[in-house]
Amino acid sequence: MHRFLLAVLRRDLTLAARRRGDWLIAQFFFVMVASLFPLGVGPEPEMLARIGPGVLWVAATLASLLSLSRLFADDHHDGSLEHMVLSPEPTVLLVLGKSLAHWLIYCIPLLLIAPVLGIQFNLPWDAIWVLEISLLLGTPILSLLGSVGAALTLGLRGGGVLLTLLILPLYVPALIFGAGAVDGVMSGTGGQAHLSLLGAFMVLSLMIAPWIAAAALRVSLE
């Protein structure tokens, strides 16, 4: 069982290492979106610190969405998805492995870039620290819920746009609690409550999303 999970993980990581272009696009997108805001709203430091947490969270959400439409689509296209679903191992593990790989490949780099962008938005260090924790807790939600959307829209024409419309509303709680935690620290009320709720939401998605995505995958392949 763990061998299967590891095989899925190692496979997706190897494939990502072979196609670094795709990987870089998501990271550049994150930096670009976050950098457009200071240009748009003006350079006042107080204003930037006010909108910073929200902007960084929205940008991270959009950047992770960018890569989600290909979570299953590439494997579906070359037939390897059918082979994986026909494996004696449960499809739930396949989805879990692929979500985990997506998180490692596309979300961990966002975590590394976020502090730099935080400085750009004039966030204080304790806020940047909480931003990191909120992203660490929140980005797995993006990958897990995203796998449900990717499985549902598999093989549809214009699936990418549909995926965005389907999944973005589900990201709302993560966005509210994630950006809320950073805001809380900056306004002095503390981010603990928001982070706890974010963690609970992450555990909930971990428990439910792979099962729904596995069922959706089977329907999409039929």
Partner: protein, 222 residues
Amino acid sequence: MTPEPIQTSPELSVRDLACARGERLLFKGMNFTVKAGELLLVQGGNGQGKTSLLRLLTGLARPEDGMVLWCGKPINKNREDFHAQMIYLGHANGVKDDLNPVENLRFAEGLQGRPFEAARAVSILERLGLGRCLDLPCRVLSFGQRRRVALSALLLADARLWILDEPLTGLDIHAVALMEGLIRDHLTGGGMVVATTHQALNLEGVNVQRLLVGNVAIPELA
């Protein structure tokens, strides 16, 4: 190479199977049994439901009516056991373009939850004439060579039941002859094969059942 001797004689059987694509009924009331050492050659014109039948047999698609049984049990109740002993090769090869043939086989094995024996994989690839392409990414291989990589995965998997959808597409005459030999070996070793093909096969000494799908008669093959 050959499967282990059989303890309980496995068989694939189908009861009153019906298949529909959208509103159109492709076939109904289909019954057959494939026993150890038998080849079921599914024949029929384009669009008559050969691929749909094979997808029903693998469990990728659900039948409109009736059921598919493996060793007397419905395959959806017995999924793990069935998929551990079955391998499917569809129109798409399930070969990753960014990986070389050996890596492709390594992941194919990992996804079946089995350990990878590198020496055996290389010897199978060499047997299929891919000895000179071992470290080339599959992207640069020809269509027929990629098909050969997919067939190597079939051999490596050591499954009892092979379900092959047009396995000879894109293969040259040497590879077709090799494939005929492999199918014969597999059947002699107590395996089972369900295949569709439009090409003539030399199947002397093989226990062949022919199944005509749809109502368009086609000239006798082989």
